[in-house]
């Protein structure tokens, strides 16, 4: 009876998100399967696709293509990484929300005053959490089954295992850290680091072993439709079970409401606490540092491997020319090569913007904002300070990424890319970031719970749409719905000022409308 109640409670808290993730898994897979047929049967398409796939930028994002000539292989290559990231991120956020978040809010004290100990509540909750990745994996496998069941099974099982790995990660984080945000940050950092490890493993041959310590690497090593290897997935399952077991052991040894790492007294510092703007910057510094380390490392790496990648492309000119036909810039020049990489910077920076403004929305919901709005400060100024700080952070990340890529290219011995060109390339995608700010603030005005989702839409959704639409040879208007269709390949080309201006104007207008609404509507909490 008590167990049923625990399961019911956990299910109620994750059902909508779980359904959404499963739907995305099915829809994305089905969409790519449907378009893959025409792509893989057409020889000329296939050749340009292979050229595209050998572009290290695409390679580091999606992993190396393994069986591009089959519908299954192509679909797995296109969808495995995005799906694993979506399932992983959702799992982490949901897991820390319904474990540490509930504990933070004091609601678990009520639950644990019943006769079930913390470990029981935790294991039932984790069990329910595991259902969502299972559903997403089964859904993806089912959508892929027409392309061959063995590969579909491996692929689906891989998605499930990645999800379970991050359930373990997040639940362990929720035991170790005494706050929800710290637990989420910790688990997302693991996701980012292991994704980066796979990218490095793919890009640098000598470091190929890194893929064995990353769930994303293991997913790739399972090679659906090209060997169907179960051993990497077994390893992933063992890791997930070990994480979960560790979480339960830690849970048995701590007090409810606290973690293993509890912050003690520290010296107070009043730096940046003198004004609303200063406070917004102060709250930004720690997360900004984490984002800066991750993006800086990624772009430095991209820069370092640029020269070897370019040598390959110059030796195989037909690849780069075909990539050009497929909508990507001339890859054989360092400018063209970096331009494609600078465009995708809009995804993480847009994500940064969405996550920061979602944190502001959370502060409203859990009433941390109340003491600030009770001060003689208008809400417009409050949200304005937050937006300004977030934008400054986004620009800082953009500049840093450009500089890191330039440093990497230069260190690798290539002198063709100047720092100014690199910065122009990264700054060129800022209009998409402005769109992300706009949708985030619109959400803050009307649907504060949807800030992350809506804020991430122009960046993440836009890029996925662009790639999928290009793959499928979709009509121009579909491709043009993506902001990425309107970015010039800077530094190879000069910026498309008109398109950038229009996107920026849309972003600014949405921001203004959303902020005005936030200034007037009733506060929640």
């Amino acid at each position: 009876m008590a167990d049923r109640a625990l399961v019911g409670l956990a299910l109620r808290q994750i059902r909508f998100g779980g359904l959404a993730v499963t739907s995305v898994a099915i829809a994305l897979t089905a969409l790519v399967v449907a378009t893959a047929e025409t792509i893989v049967t057409d020889r000329s398409n296939l050749a340009s696709l292979e050229a595209l796939a050998s572009n290290p930028a695409i390679r580091t994002l999606f992993g190396p293509p393994i069986a591009l000539d089959s519908v299954g292989g192509f679909t797995v290559w296109r969808t495995a990484t995005p799906l694993a990231v979506i399932v992983g991120v959702w799992t982490i956020v949901a897991a820390t929300r319904i474990t540490r978040g509930e504990e933070d809010a004091g609601r678990w004290s009520l639950l644990l005053s019943g006769h079930r100990p913390l470990r029981d509540v935790l294991s039932w909750t984790a069990g329910v959490l595991a259902v969502a990745p299972l559903a997403a994996g089964v859904g993806a496998a089912a959508a892929l089954a027409s392309a061959g069941t063995a590969g579909a099974l491996i692929h689906g099982a891989g998605i499930v295992m990645v999800g379970w790995f991050f359930v373990g990660c997040a639940v362990l984080g929720a035991q170790v850290f005494a706050s929800r945000s710290a637990a989420t940050t910790g688990a997302v950092a693991v996701l980012g680091a292991t994704l980066l490890a796979r990218m490095i493993g793919d890009g640098v041959e000598a470091l190929g072993w890194l893929r064995w310590v990353s769930p994303f690497g293991l997913l790739e090593l399972s090679r659906p439709y090209a060997g169907n290897r179960w051993s990497p997935l077994v390893l992933l399952l063992v890791a997930a079970v070990a994480l979960m077991a560790a979480a339960l052991v830690v849970a048995g040894r701590r007090d409810v409401g606290s973690g293993v790492l509890v912050a003690g007294p520290r010296r107070s510092s009043t730096v940046l606490l003198g004004s609303v703007g200063g406070f917004a910057v102060r709250r930004l510094l720690v997360p900004l540092t984490a984002w800066a380390i991750a993006l800086g490392a990624y772009y430095l790496l991209i820069g370092l491997v640029a020269d070897s990648a370019l040598t390959f492309l110059r030796d195989n000119p037909e690849f780069s020319s075909r990539a050009g036909q497929a909508g990507f810039a001339d890859l054989a020049s360092v400018e063209g090569y970096t331009a494609t990489l600078f465009a995708i910077l809009a995804m993480p920076v847009g994500g940064f913007v969405a996550v920061r403004l979602a944190a502001f929305a959370d502060a409203e919901t859990d009433r941390r904002l109340t003491p600030l709005v009770a001060a003689p400060v208008t809400r417009l100024r409050l949200v304005g300070a937050e937006i300004t700080a977030t934008l400054l952070g986004a620009v800082a990340l953009t500049v840093l990424s450009g500089a890191a890529a330039w440093a990497g290219v230069t260190l690798s011995g290539n002198r063709d890319l100047s720092l100014a060109e690199a910065l122009a390339g990264t700054l060129n995608m800022l209009p998409i970031v402005l769109l992300c700010v706009g949708t985030s603030v619109l959400a803050l005005g009307w649907a504060p719970r949807g800030v992350t989702l809506l804020g991430g839409l122009p960046g993440g959704g836009g890029f996925l749409l662009y790639v999928l639409a290009l793959d499928a040879g979709a009509p121009a208007w579909v491709v043009n719905c993506s902001p990425f269709a309107h970015l010039a390949a800077v530094p190879l080309e000069s910026p498309n000022w008109l398109a950038s201006g229009v996107m920026s104007a849309f972003g600014v207008a949405a921001t203004v409308v959303g902020a005005l609404r936030f200034g007037r509507r009733d506060l929640r909490g």
Binding site: S179, S268, T270, A374, A375
Partner: protein, 301 residues
């Protein structure tokens, strides 16, 4: 009368068509300690949210010293606020929180704040996420009492405090009153309201049912009178305001009295009364008088 510290005129706030506050008119003059009473869900917090500009009124007006409550940049220079359930930024220490609130607030007396930190026995070196409910409340109270704001809006400020701290709270209220600050105190701790408030407003189902001084409220309500006499028992049944006459034996009787005591005193003077004891109703009894009967809700459902 823009001289009022707090003023609402026909204030109505509806959520989804259901009124949480209904046609509320209150006026609190400067310097007064005003108790805002009502059971859970009566609309106290909603009223305060409108006064603070956190929610916009559906109709009617709310003003702080004559400034529209929605004009927060102006109105909030005049007030400090302690919410019922204090949420703080988890990574800031107590001292950092107080510094932030003082920096953006309506002006703070730092020396007095440090004194209050001592008096409320607050460890400001700890991070806010390690604070108990009571300690979070103390931070908000210290921040509010240390301001020079002419109005303090306190929403159930002592629900998490122990009796020792409750005593400090009452001292701080008394000091604020001496400085001339107005206090708008929402509470359902009747002893607290009785101890510190000049006047109370009683809210029920979103409507104001009474506004009076605590003494005035008592006068409106039934006192219990016991008399001792020798000789014949006083005949009181016909006296206006008297009810429930009850002989206690041994030359004593007890009755209830509502309204002015003149007639009953005149009647008692005709008899040989040896002792007279009047017990005024406690605020709790008055409160229950208002809420004892079932509350009718006019909205459907």
């Amino acid at each position: 009368m823009s001289g009022s510290a707090v003023r609402t005129v026909a204030l109505t706030k509806k959520y989804g068509g259901v009124p949480a506050v209904d046609d509320l008119t209150i006026e609190v003059p400067p310097g007064e300690v005003f108790g805002f009473l009502g059971p859970n869900g009566a609309g106290k917090s909603t009223t305060i949210r409108v006064l603070l500009g956190l929610a916009a009124p559906t109709s009617g007006r709310a003003e702080i010293f004559g400034i529209a409550a929605q004009d927060v940049a102006q109105a909030h220079t005049k007030l400090a606020y302690v919410p019922a359930d204090v949420a703080l930024w988890p990574r800031l220490t107590g001292r950092e929180t107080l510094h932030l609130l003082a920096s953006i607030g309506p002006g703070t007396d730092v020396a007095y704040r440090d004194e209050l930190i001592e008096r409320f026995d607050l460890d400001v070196t700890k991070r806010a996420d390690t604070y108990s409910t009571g300690n979070r409340q103390k931070i908000a109270l210290v921040a509010a009492f240390a301001t020079r704001a002419p109005l303090l809006v306190l929403d159930e400020p002592t629900s998490g405090l122990d009796p020792l701290m409750e005593r400090e709270f009452r001292r701080a209220v008394a000091e604020a009153r001496e400085r001339g600050q107005t206090i708008f105190l929402s509470s359902h701790l009747l002893a607290e309201v009785e101890a510190v408030c000049d006047r109370v407003g009683i809210l029920r189902a979103g409507r104001l049912v009474e506004t009076a001084t605590v003494a005035g409220l008592r006068r409106l309500h039934r006192s219990e009178v016991t008399v001792a006499y020798t000789g014949a028992a006083p005949e009181l049944a016909a006296v206006p305001g008297v009810d429930g006459v009850e002989p206690l034996g041994d030359g004593r009787l007890r009755f209830g009295l509502t309204g002015a005591p003149g007639p009953v005193l005149q009647q008692l003077a005709r008899f040989d009364v040896t002792a007279l004891n009047v017990r005024e109703p406690s605020l709790e009894e008055i409160f229950l008088d208002y809420y004892g009967e079932p509350v009718r809700y006019d909205c459907g459902g």
